[in-house]
């Protein structure tokens, strides 16, 4: 079995490559033309395919001999239009190319950001309402482009009869990516902690990668949309304490109740910023909610559908995030069991 991974050298992508290799799956790693791959420690069996989804021609060649596409590539920096062009138009070009090949299986990396937090009151799960247009366009560029990327991908899958799995991770964290937008607002070394007891919808990058590798091979994932979080999540205060201890960041923490913070933001928005066209994200109520709203998050559907449990618990994740760097290709957690592989072929 061979998998094509886009965004393969990204934060999540490099771990997904490792997880696929651990399951005995051959990997073709799509990376950008100028991407530096030093430090990735991929074995020579990994087939590197250099391309940029925005401009490269002949993307269909990347699908030669490929059984499943894991589409992780997205533009997460730059302005809203750059993100849309890279993430959405790039996905159109990739899937146009796929349509000319024999590959019929696709796992898309979506995000919790597609959910409309403002319309959810208790538990966020796969049945929760998504953003709708035009309300969507009040959100940030990342949310808009990921929402459209999922829409475009579903349309392609419907049109060509592909087996699609949509995975929606919460906040993905790990080494060098431990500070999360869910923690509140940072001012230099200091933190305004909004709702310190709120639980974070989070998944450690190695746990998350394990889900992607599993979804690629497990036939039960076909046609499914699954939220990816490791469990019910850690409370912000505890996570931030571990972050500050682990990163050596010794700033002050000022806790503020969520209800008070959202009241201030709503008041400011309705009186000062409503007519404004450019406002910092944290001062827009809908965006504030999507970062900080206290909801229940769980991975019941993921557990029930794929029988998945996170390979690493929170303490192990903390150790891997802030502890000494593991020697190359040592201490990998990915389970090599080819469970349900027969169902996928």
């Amino acid at each position: 079995m061979r998998a094509l991974v886009t965004g393969a050298n990204g934060f999540l992508g490099r771990h997904v490559v490792d997880a696929l290799l651990a399951r005995g799956i051959e990997v073709r790693a799509m990376v950008r033309p100028a991407a530096r791959l030093d430090g990735l420690d991929w074995p020579s069996s990994v087939d590197i395919f250099r391309a940029d989804l925005r401009t490269s021609r002949d993307l269909a060649r990347a699908f030669e001999g490929v059984d499943v596409l894991l589409h992780l590539a997205a533009v997460v920096s730059g302005g809203e239009d750059a993100q849309f062009a890279g993430t959405v138009a790039g996905t159109e070009r990739l899937l146009d190319a796929m349509a000319a090949t024999t590959c019929r299986r696709l796992v898309l990396c979506s995000t919790f950001s597609v959910y409309n937090y403002s319309a959810i009151s208790r538990t966020l799960d796969e049945d929760s309402p998504l953003h709708e247009t035009p309300e969507l366009y009040a959100r940030d560029g990342y949310t808009i482009s990921k929402w459209w990327q999922e829409r475009v991908t579903r349309r392609f899958a419907d049109k060509y009869g592909w087996d699609l799995t949509v995975l929606r991770p919460g906040f993905i964290w790990g080494r060098d990516h431990a500070y999360l937008a869910a923690l509140g607002q940072q001012f230099g070394r200091h933190h305004l902690v909004v709702g310190p007891l709120t639980r974070i919808p989070m998944t450690h990058v190695e746990n998350c990668a394990d889900v992607f590798a599993l979804a690629a091979v497990d036939g039960r994932a076909r046609g499914q949309t699954l939220n990816v979080v490791d469990g019910r999540g850690e409370r912000i205060w505890r996570y931030l304490s571990d972050y500050m201890r682990g990163s050596g960041n010794r700033g002050w923490r000022l806790p503020v109740p969520y209800w008070l913070a959202i009241t201030v933001v709503r008041l400011g928005f309705s009186t000062v910023f409503r007519a404004a066209t450019k406002v910092p994200s944290i001062l827009i109520p809908q965006r504030f909610e999507s970062r900080l709203k206290p909801l229940r998050f769980e991975n019941r559907k993921l557990r029930e559908t794929l029988g998945w449990t996170p390979p690493l618990d929170y303490r192990q994740c903390v150790a891997r995030t802030y502890g000494p760097t593991a020697p190359p290709r040592a201490g990998r957690i990915y389970r090599p069991a080819l469970i349900n592989l027969n169902k996928a072929t």
């Binding site: 950008r32 033309p33 100028a34 991407a35 940029d52 925005r54 401009t55 920096s77 730059g78 302005g79 239009d81 750059a82 849309f84 062009a85 959405v88 138009a89 159109e92 247009t133 035009p134 366009y137 808009i144 459209w148 829409r151 475009v152 910023f273 007519a275 404004a276 066209t277 450019k278 406002v279």
Partner: protein, 346 residues
Amino acid sequence: MKAALIGAGQIARQHLTCLKTLPGVELAAICDLSPATAEAAADRYGIPAWFTDHRAMLEKVRPDVVHVTTPPTSHFGLALDSIDAGADVIVEKPVTPTFAELQALVGRAQDAGRHLLEDHNYLFNHAPQEILRRIKSGEFGAVTHVEVLICLDILGPDGFADANAPHPALKLSGGAIADFLPHLASLAHLFVGPHRTASAIWNKRKSSPLPYDEFRAVVDAERGTAALGFSASSQPDAFWLRVYGEKMQATTNLFETRLTFDGPRDVPKPLRPFFSGLDEGKTIRRAALATLLRKFKGPGAYEGLWEFLARTYRALAERSALPVTASDVLEVNRLVEALKPQEQLQ
């Protein structure tokens, strides 16, 4: 008037946001090669039709005005098709990669009785317009010289210097800086008129995919002289315009709202610098607040584009003089052509 856009990328958003505010303008259709990009723009701005084929859009919608907001190398063909479909055309700068293509476009527009405009947006920002007003009133005196210098870090990995996907502007003679030449040339043309001679220096200070990252030029024009420049290395980002008159001098940063005048003062000559400094400080403090506030509302540094579009549509509706004429576009681009490098650096 029915308006349509070809190209739904970054600059298109400014056109769309502005067009939504203009009275008597109906946003009729939008076109982009990416179906999702076209559909999302239509969805967001309440545009009833979207296309991926511009000829199909022109045929079906029959717009009165077409905005060409695609990368510059595609402008010529798209503008030509739009003129042939009976539309007036507003083209983002640079209007065409070569002067010969522009001449062909202008000729075709004149034959068809249509208008071709290039977006010279910075001419219509508040500051140049205020300087122009003082020149016309006589209080500024005749302009002797103008300096325009853009300092902008375009060497970051996400834009012009993207090593993964070559930016379309790199196909222009002069590379990324050529994308800014119409700003420099249009401001020079506004204050000192058509050029007689021009001499330019193109340099590369830093390693990047850009062929050049520094540019300086001296221009001799009919009503005065101009010094033009672009620096990708000088920081912070700024767009300096200095206009030297026989009675006054004006300084503005077009990325901000700062505009100061220094002129005759009814005080003893030795005290003039003192009072000028006080006045300038007060003006800059006010401008600092205005610059901060405009970040929250409105078009920001694109205020000139909004004004340009508003004046253009008003003129088209009233069949009166356009804010940018075909002659302006030709003169500005004759200067742009004269400023281009003779050969690419290796």
